[in-house]
Symmetry: C2
Subunit: 210 residues, 2 copies
């Protein structure tokens, strides 16, 4: 089954669809239409129709979608058919919060270890995950076929930590530092500038309410 790509917005609604479809299947239903699903979830019918179409091309007029087939397609898109392991580079407060965050499981993602140059933070996290020296990253990534990394080191260490990640075979970096990273063309970077997000919200708020 070839894996489709869906938009971020659609991806965000998939856990909700999945839960509802699993409930419907439990209730003994075999098929469901976009119309019915939209009514149950109180969502716009056009939106649901578009989402389901992006997820699975097997919808049929009048009959709708076969629920089991739709569940399979959504599970694959959500990565529930296989586990994706991720590492964190930088075990400061944000790194530790992401290392022990439970929310990623919904998307089949598990943060399995953190790395830090500071020996005093090494050991295990509150949920028992290892915090290791950066030297260990290459072997762990190779053995575990790890392609995703979260970067939460201080700004002045960002580029060198990024270089190490690329050297480890990482192909996608979720960058929490404010630094514009230089990476090979084959590596994807998603910048997560939290300070900027809060500042932008503050700016909007200042202009609407004061």
């Amino acid at each position: 089954m070839e894996k489709a790509t869906v938009s971020r917005a659609t991806l965000g609604r998939l856990p909700l669809y999945l839960e509802t479809l699993e409930q419907l299947r439990q209730d003994g239903r075999r098929n469901v239409s976009a119309t019915v699903l939209a009514q149950i979830l109180n969502l716009g019918e056009v939106q649901v129709r578009k989402d389901l179409n992006a997820v699975c091309s097997d919808g049929r007029p009048k009959v709708g979608y076969e629920i089991t087939r739709l569940i399979d397609c959504i599970r694959i898109l959500l990565g529930r058919d296989k586990k994706t392991d991720v590492i964190v580079m930088g075990a400061g407060k944000m790194g530790m919060a992401l290392l022990d965050c439970n929310d990623f499981a919904e998307y089949g993602i598990s943060v399995i270890a953190a790395f830090d140059t500071d020996p005093s933070v090494r050991g295990t996290s509150p949920t028992g995950k290892p915090i290791l020296p950066p030297d260990f990253a290459k072997q762990l990534c190779k053995n575990g076929n790890i392609r995703l990394a979260i970067l939460t080191v201080p700004a002045d260490a960002a580029q060198s930590a990024c270089d190490l990640l690329c050297d480890c075979g990482i192909t996608a970096i979720w960058n929490f530092t404010p630094v514009t990273l230089k990476v090979p063309e084959s590596v994807t970077v998603r910048n997560e500038n939290l300070a900027l997000s809060l500042a932008h919200l503050n700016q909007k708020d200042s202009n609407t309410t004061r």
Copy 2:
């Protein structure tokens, strides 16, 4: 001086402009053009021109911008002219990471306190900020004229914590829970679904590299 609104992208470049302009002023320069600033920063001239135009309408052909005036405009947009205090509802790992995060200062924002229903997490954070019972939020927000809050409680407590924040006079909520919050029309919500961000990055990576 009326406060302009700039795009998120422009806002993100302002700290860089500010640093450069302060350096130029120190070097004894009085005026700067978008062309020169673009060269120094290795940015596109069209982009810099657009940014500066959004920041300050006083640019003059041939002369460029008065550096001191530009610095003042940027400082206001970055909130450096006044401090904005923010609270965190929910002192779990993410709440604590945001409570002690230093990156917000660049935008004149200070996270001053966290609130949690769990007495065992109360006290002070590693950097000395208070973690208080939620009952204290209303008075603190009123006394400090606080309008922004970060929501980092577990999903099942999200709506009730949100209701409390609205009751405290909060007008903008940065929502780290996966819950779609119900708020009065006067309240702005920015959803920060980190799990979805990572899942989306994973999806893109899976499709490009495997």
